[in-house]
């Protein structure tokens, strides 16, 4: 299965390898990061190492085609053996498109922006506050059984991480994006959150305390970002559209 018909078959197989697409992105980011990121211990060694990423691992040319075939083969066998049905996977995906996703979190955050009492209640007892909103069933469901919200302020910026895996508050945020699951992010955000946030385009002033929350037990954390300046005249419905998953994990301003 050639997923990139724009490349001729005569080109090296690496052009069809999505990992190398990632790696090229890494390379571009490396040069950007070198220009903007402060380095701890004043070394540029990290950048030099990043530029070696494309040579670090080799992958078979049919890597993605084989992954795809194996995943589809597994699903077909599980259906044939009566373990799941032919609708199971699509029904799970549909649930995340309509019932559990960042569209819920956006409503929670927008309400916190317009209602200071709700904001306080949300921080004090997150599940109880969320239960008061008109959201789909399942706000205390899978990966949201014990959620806790932390609120940004002019003096505190919150960042959510999971150094051991990829714990993420499904009911309000849906599924974790790749940056959150990236071992590099998970490793670096613990020791140098400011440097990591700067690479993401977020410059947190030295006077602002960063609180990093490592999701290592039952709690699934999310951030109530600060309401952006100049939005005083917006309705709650308009504010909802401003809220992003990145904002609710603390790696972007809204």
């Amino acid at each position: 299965m050639n997923t990139h018909p724009e490349h001729s078959a005569a080109e090296p197989s690496s052009t069809d390898d999505p990992n190398l697409r990632f790696s090229r992105r890494n390379l571009l980011l490396a040069s950007t990061a070198a220009a903007v990121a402060p380095t701890i211990g004043g070394t540029l060694v990290e950048t030099a190492q990043a530029q070696q990423v494309p040579q670090r691992f080799s992958y078979p040319a049919d890597r993605e085609a084989r992954n795809a075939a194996r995943a589809l083969a597994l699903e077909a066998l599980l259906i044939e053996k009566g373990i799941i049905t032919s609708k199971t996977v699509n029904s799970v995906l549909s649930f995340f498109e309509t019932q559990m996703g960042p569209f819920n979190g956006a409503k929670v955050v927008a309400r916190a922006w317009v209602d200071p009492a709700f904001r306080q209640a949300l921080v004090d007892d997150t599940p109880a506050a969320i239960a008061k909103l008109d959201l789909p069933k399942g706000m205390a469901g899978a990966e949201g059984e014990h959620m806790r919200a932390v609120a940004n302020s002019p003096t505190v910026h919150n960042l959510i991480i999971c150094t051991l895996c990829s714990c993420y508050p499904w009911p309000v945020l849906g599924l974790p994006p790749y940056w959150y699951k990236d071992p590099t992010f998970r490793a670096r955000a613990a020791r140098e959150p400011r440097a990591v946030l700067k690479e993401f385009g977020l410059d947190i002033a030295p006077s602002v305390e960063i609180k990093t929350w490592d999701s290592s037990a039952q709690i699934r954390w999310f951030v109530v970002p600060e309401r952006p300046a100049g939005t005083g005249g917006m309705t709650e419905a308009e504010l909802i559209k401003l809220v992003t998953p990145e904002g609710m994990m603390g790696v972007a301003r809204v």
Binding site: R70, L74, I84, T163, Y178, D214
Partner: protein
Amino acid sequence: MKLQHSLGGLEGLGPVTFEKRVFVEPWEKRIFGIHVAMMALSSQLPLPPTPSGFKTVWTWADLRKGAESLNPFDYFKYRYYEKWLGGISGYFIEKGYITEAELEARTQQMLRNPSTASATGGDPAIDKRVITYLVEGDSPKRDSAMKPRFSAGEKVFVKDVPTVEHTRLPGYLRNRAGVVDTVYPGTYTYLTSTGPDGIGEAMPVYCVRFDPEAIWKGNTEKNVTIYADLYEAYLDKSN
């Protein structure tokens, strides 16, 4: 303890990839959906049985164990859902639901003809239970007579427990002192017993705060506080 248990603070990794997509290849959605179905059909859940042929236990702990048991080079080499694909396929083979030979044969067939018609059918009760699990969740909170050993504001010391295959204690916090920020109400089980690592049975859980300067002296940033949720089995009184 594996490198994967100790990612926090690992140096020399280069820039972060700010990839905002959840899935970067269409097949990743399929393995994600299979994993959710397995968790939902897992036999330990207190849900009505279904006609599904899935009769064993599959939880996050099983998926995490698989990723944690990888050679660290493979852990970094393979993308997130590639690790899921490997772990989940391996589980179905190990438990005898399918054989490696039939999975490989079907894979080859899909490679030759990706548009191969998919299997159809199945009992709707299976899909109903999957959605019920998503809506109801699987809270680890349990009633227990066990009272918290530590209180908010108390200084605690994080043990270096003998982790064999799976842990919820991040490596960078081991042998460090922290302060209890929150004592969570009630007690919490973990999805499996981690053996000598110490979790599984219901116990108190704490949010503990740490000064990164005390963890990575001279090699971290100012004005940062790290918080981690830690099971009581991982904590000791501080001297």
